[in-house]
């Protein structure tokens, strides 16, 4: 850790709060610029996808169990499972594969 942990936490909290609160308090009109709107619209999908892959492959004890969890998670989410279900079932896939198939 390069800096004091509380310094990191302060920066995280401050920036996150400002992002959330400034539009609510300052901007009372709708954003009309299509490019800015579109950029903000696409950001979560790109960020979360980049954060998930390939990092998920290194998250568990074995690459194969993580890959299986990734595929299971995509499948479950595709067929309509909610946040909680996808999260828990991905964990279950890793647990069962590592425990019983030892991969």
């Amino acid at each position: 850790m390069r800096y004091n942990a509380y310094l990191y936490i302060l920066v995280m909290a401050l920036v996150t709060y400002l992002i959330r609160v400034l539009p609510l308090t300052l901007i009372r009109r709708e954003i009309r610029n299509v490019t800015i709107r579109s950029f903000l619209f696409y950001v979560p999908y790109v960020t979360l996808a980049v954060m998930t892959f390939p990092a998920i492959l290194d998250a568990t004890e074995s690459t194969w169990s993580a890959a299986a969890a990734l595929l299971a998670g995509i499948g479950l989410a595709w067929w309509g499972a909610g946040l909680f279900q996808v999260s828990v079932l991905s964990c279950a896939v890793v647990f069962l594969l590592e425990r019983f198939l030892q991969i």
Partner: protein, 249 residues
């Protein structure tokens, strides 16, 4: 429903309960990530009390363990939480013009995917006490889950910790995959994002870029390109051309 604060707060508590339970499980894996980054249980719990953003906190913990600079941290928070900017903009349209500054500032404290989604779907203008009720149950769930994740990460066997480590990724998939089913643009973006992320982590030179910078760089590049190539004009967010194509089907 009578439009008074008490009734809306009670409804918020009820609707916030399933959110809180989901948060608890996800925050548990976040706690493990915090511990891996070298944070104490108190520091991790404090972070979750102050922030309440899974992707943001997760990215933050990754940067802390990578020894990032404070500027990198601020830039990362800006990019990874940029979607809240959009949500807050949408939410500002949902508030009555008489909503006080204090109430706006309190709502802004906890604009999450879930609370935003439920708030925006309420009929008419938003009574601030509705999100307040949801916050009152979901923030404790989030913070206590994080705390237990740090503490129990020690106690739990390696196989369980290994399994729980994919929990957050599972949640991310549950956020990005369902819209990908409806929009080929989003589906293509996700494939491109994962593909480029993989290349950036494996190719010589490119793999020297830190994981934090990689996320910022790829997000700005890919989302920026998509905004120019596939502008979103509809309120629901489906790009124009594609919607026309879907209507034609």
């Amino acid at each position: 429903m009578p439009n008074d604060g008490k009734a809306w707060f009670a409804k918020g508590l009820r609707d916030g309960l399933p959110i809180s339970m989901g948060y608890f499980a996800v925050a548990f894996t976040l706690g493990i990530a915090a511990k891996n980054a070298g944070l104490t249980a108190f520091q991790a719990t404090l972070t979750s009390l102050l922030i309440n953003a899974s992707a943001g906190e997760f990215a933050g913990f990754t940067l802390i363990s990578a020894g990032a600079s404070l500027l990198e941290m601020a830039a990362m928070m800006l990019v990874v939480n940029a979607r809240y900017l959009l949500m807050s903009c949408a939410l500002s349209q949902k508030l009555g013009s008489q909503t006080s500054l204090l109430h706006r500032m309190l709502i802004g404290f906890d604009v999450t995917d879930e609370i935003f989604g439920v708030s925006i779907s309420a009929p008419g203008k938003l009574n601030p006490f509705y999100p307040f009720g949801m916050m009152a149950v979901s923030i404790p769930g989030w913070a206590s889950g994080t705390c237990l994740g740090v503490l129990m990460g020690n106690v739990l066997p390696a196989s369980v910790v290994s399994a729980l480590s994919v929990g957050l990724y599972g949640m991310f998939l549950a956020v990005i995959i369902p819209p990908a089913r409806k929009s080929r643009v989003i589906a293509g973006l996700i494939v491109a994002s994962m593909g480029l992320s993989f290349l950036f982590s494996k190719l010589p030179f490119l793999s020297r870029i830190s994981s934090g910078m990689r996320i910022i760089l790829l997000t700005v590049l890919i989302a920026g390109a998509a905004a120019v190539l596939f502008p979103v004009r509809e309120e629901g967010g489906i790009p124009e051309k594609e919607e026309a194509a879907q209507n034609a089907l």
